[in-house]
Symmetry: C2
């Protein structure tokens, strides 16, 4: 299905650049090989909870819902990054290893971001199973992680 991929791309584009009209977003999507009509985009934006707000300089920009945006400056985030030890894949699922006792916090944080691509998480003591939404690839989940926890992959490589 085309829709899932499109929703992911929309979230990513909006979180990375200032988009001010649906037509503009449409072009960006086309640049990524995803095409649809403005009508579909309008419906998708509503489904994702994306709002249109004044940008302070006389224009407008599309903006992810607060629960997602706020995760980017959450003080929790700063605590999360250092406890992640490794990220591996298994069977279309993603497994995140943390230092002992921290899986639950971390999973809670991930859930809180409410990213479309993550259907849910299950946490033990030091291991989190991240279940991607149907049709979402591991690569896409990696991209998503990098958005909600900037620098995370970089940080793991060093270990």
């Amino acid at each position: 299905m085309q829709k899932t991929k499109r929703l992911l791309a929309i979230e990513t584009i909006i979180s990375e650049e200032k988009i001010s009209t649906q037509e503009e977003l449409l072009r960006k999507l086309k640049g990524k090989g995803i095409s649809c009509t403005q009508a579909t985009l309008s419906r998708n934006l509503r489904q994702l909870g994306v709002g249109r707000i004044p940008n302070g300089i006389g224009g407008y920009k599309y903006s992810l819902p607060e629960k997602i945006r706020s995760s980017e400056k959450s003080p929790l985030r700063l605590n999360i990054v250092p406890v992640i030890q490794d990220i591996v894949e298994a069977n279309g699922l993603m497994v995140i290893k943390t230092i002992p006792g921290n899986a639950s916090n971390t999973a809670f944080f991930i859930d809180g971001t409410a990213r479309y691509e993550i259907a849910g998480t299950i946490a033990g003591d030091d291991t989190i199973l991240v279940i991607p939404r149907d049709g979402v690839t591991i690569q896409q989940v990696h991209t998503c992680l990098e958005i909600i926890l900037p620098g995370i992959h970089e940080q793991i490589k060093k270990k």
Copy 2:
């Protein structure tokens, strides 16, 4: 000038009810004896930073900018309400009395809400001078306070 009153009314209406189109807001304003065209409203909403976001049930609603909204659930707010001792008026200005040592915190909170009707504040140890924006009445500042610190007047009466 009509504009100031209109901006205040817009903030108040939007913070109190779910408004989904500018035409609807226009009617509410008319109900309060304030009338203008949709064009003016569009410009005002942009100036106030008011965004339009999906309401989760298939429609849209206008929403105050985050800095204003967030003051409503700020943990700070809960600490602020109990320290306010009295609110009196003098000379078109408003004077807020707090318990000793708390004027500065409280003024900081009020500033943070960035309400249009308040031009600024000056705080001593237990006294805050609230300076209304030009054209704003004390009554309007009271209404504003009630919005950013719900229950505040009620609470003072009891003292």
